[in-house]
Amino acid sequence: MSPVQTTGDARTNLVEVTDLSVEFGEVRAVDGLSFRLARGAALALVGESGSGKSTVASALLGLHHGTGARVRGSVLVAGTDVQRASGEELRRLRGAKAAMVFQDPLSSLDPYYAIGDQIAEVYRVHTRASRRAARARAVRVLERVGIPDAARRSRARPHEFSGGMRQRALIAMALACEPDLLIADEPTTALDVTVQAQILDLLHTLREETGMGLLLVTHDVGVAAESVDEVLVMRDGRAVEHGPVTAVLGAPSAAYTRELLGAVPRVDAPRETRKADSGQGEAVLEATGLRREFGRGRRTLTAVDGVSLTLRRGETLGVVGESGSGKTTLGRMLVGLLEPTAGEVRFEGRARRGVDPAVQMVFQDPVSSLNPRRSVGESVADPLRARGERDEGRIRRRVTELLERVGLEGAHYDRYPHEFSGGQRQRVGIARALAADPKVIVCDEPVSALDVTTQAQVVALLGELQRELGIALVFVAHDLAVVRQVSDRVAVMHRGRIVEEGPADEVYGAPRDPYTRQLLAAVPALDPEAAARRRAARREPATA
């Protein structure tokens, strides 16, 4: 590629990245990446963690300058050569021509200043507008991103906003100077699925109205399918596949893309292996009228409010809900880690208080669920020792067996948790639960911290174990697709209550409750055309 051509393209191409490499010490995060983004176009960088996608986004704004990272190759953004630009030129690019929206809107805004003031500050840096004009501009962009009563709300500070509102505010900040390019780095990852749909719709509308280009960085193929024209799949810092969204997602050519797409759980696909006797077996775990309050007096918060459910032998009950729906609290009461304020849990027909090794749990966070100071073998051996097993040889044999059963090696016995990846640690957690010979395992978001390919493997393992050992599972998760994939029956939680419960196919196929319908409508589809249809459908009730 000749330099002449590069300058010529600067008029039509908003972004031109040529042979970009970024190294942090020994690690090469981005390795010879090239792509272009035309004016007004939208491109998604899709990849799992460690693929280097966010590093690329930062490189577009020259944010690696002065951090010790070595950046090579050329990066042209809106006519600015980011690699050679002076500090002043970079400042003029950032926010004015290319603006970035970050993942976590709460920590990305200054907690001490009013949101309107923060937007006004950014605006003034680039326009030399008066304080008053900048403030007015802030209110205008806040209105534009759909913040009701923007003049008043602009005086509030970030913590007084909800998660979705904060992300809107951050987008408003990005809009303040009418940039040509919006870089969105996992803009919806920290949000609930219904809020995610709203933010993606907002981004779509803004792009239609302003004609700005969009570079979306995401791990979620569904989010990409909803929002962009072109997809670039990244792995280990390189481009695996690049092309129009319909082509890449519809007929992937690279093996990795196929693997990635294959691993994505689909909310519209029924579960393949279905047991005929689902819902017929005897009850192992019964909860009646469970209620749990936190705090006292006026500040009482009812996390779970009168939940009754029955878990039958060998089945999987999915519990799905957004953050704050009380699903984790419910899970902890089922295993006895939390005592209910009212109601009771019956295990095998007997009322139970406290914990019982026959009811185990797999935790969400693969980091904190293993004691970092003890070898994984020791952690797995805990239930055996607690049961009174003293024969070291037998303990070691059993633990080795369990580790091998969950897909690890027996030799891992003496390793420590930090030597394992997230997926492996989750396997250790499963082995520890199995060591107690449980009748029931409650899985609390067991895969939400994992990449999608790892997620698929762990889900498959859980299914296998269940078939083999006949354990009843409660699968608590926020991800509707994953829950459908694993569950025989599904309970939908909303504000501490179960709003709908039934066989998975019925709940997903013909939801009765309006909240369930709303949730299902918000799940991003992998098919871009379907996504457009559903967007239109979501927009209708709003305009009606």
Partner: protein, 335 residues
């Protein structure tokens, strides 16, 4: 819930908490000093007490009554004041009555109020100095991170934290007043009499008290600044082309100041401790010097009174800091 309402509630809770703490503090101090094993009357009155005086003290402290009655009497004096007999006449000790020194015959409260201006001058002036010096140094060394100027500042700060108040004071006094005679040895002059002389004479005491505190503040400010500079919202403003001066001076400093406010309140206590040393060293007639004297001659009512007065100031300072902290960061109120 309006934020203001939350804040008012928070302030109210804090104030109530402070009152409770003060009450508990008075109980503990009373029990430790007036219910200790041994002859309380003898300890209270001092080693050179006549038998008549001893009898009188025992009566005044109501040593024949059970402990809670005695404490109640003490508390009554604090709130309402009471009359006491000196043997020849009956005198009134107005509220808050902290008792009477049996060695000098004076009321403890009047001893303290006479000495308080000196100590307040010392601590207040030093506080201004240490805040300016400490926060300034901290911000500078966080900003100049990794450069030579930062290393020099860090070394100085370390030396500052490691030098006890009385060593700094000694060295300053010997060098400035002794060897080079740039300043006369400090003599306290009332602020109202001659403000200029007041300041000149307090300059060395201020410095010796402030340097060690300034070092502590510099360390805290630097750490706090670095932590804030690593936060996501700082990245946001950099990614939006906001200049480094505004990022550091406006956004990072604002976030970094909260722990500084908290430390400042805590340091009122340690500063009073430092003030005792400074006053003793420079011969300033403040409550610190008086306290050391009272301790040396075992004048218990004075000692107890001073512990309570200093405890009072520390609790107030902590409460004010909590409230300031909450105003600075309203998220605390939600807790």
């Amino acid at each position: 819930m309006s934020v203001f309402g939350g804040l008012t509630g928070f302030v109210l809770r804090r104030v109530l908490g402070a009152v409770a703490t003060l009450f508990a503090l008075s109980v503990i101090v009373y029990v430790v000093f007036y219910a200790a094993p041994g002859n309380v009357a003898q300890i209270t009155c001092g080693p050179r007490c006549s038998p008549e005086q001893l009898h009188q003290v025992a009566q005044q402290l109501r040593l024949d009554d059970p402990l809670h009655v005695r404490y109640w009497h003490f508390l009554e004096g604090l709130v309402a004041g009471h009359d006491y007999s000196t043997g020849t006449s009956v005198e009134h000790c107005p509220a808050p009555c902290l008792g009477v020194s049996y060695q000098s015959g004076r009321q403890v409260m009047s001893i303290i109020t006479a000495k308080l201006p000196v100590s307040l001058s010392l601590v207040a002036g030093a506080m201004v100095l240490w805040l300016v010096l400490g926060v300034g140094t901290g911000v500078l060394s966080a900003w100049r991170r990794g450069r030579t100027s930062e290393r020099v500042l860090t070394a100085l700060t370390l030396a500052g934290t490691a030098t006890p108040v009385f060593v700094i004071g000694l060295v300053l006094m010997i060098v400035v007043c002794g060897e080079f005679q740039w300043l006369p040895f400090p003599q306290y002059v009332n602020l109202t009499d001659d403000p200029e002389q007041w300041a000149w004479n307090l300059l060395l005491p201020w410095l010796s008290l402030a340097l060690i505190e300034a070092a502590a503040f510099a360390r805290l400010t630097r750490a706090s600044m670095l932590e804030t500079l690593a936060e996501d919202h700082i990245r946001t403003f950099r990614a939006y082309g906001v200049g480094e001066r505004s990022v550091v001076g406006r956004h990072a400093l604002r976030g970094a100041l909260a722990p500084v406010i908290a430390l400042n309140a805590n340091n009122v206590g340690s500063a009073v401790g430092g003030a005792v040393l400074t006053e003793t060293l420079f011969g300033l007639p403040g409550i610190g010097q008086e306290l050391v004297h009272a301790v040396n001659v075992v004048d218990l009512p004075v000692v107890v009174g001073m512990v309570l007065v200093v405890g009072f100031f520390v609790v107030i300072a902590n409460t004010v800091a909590d409230v300031l902290f909450a105003v600075a960061d309203r998220r605390v109120v939600l807790a």
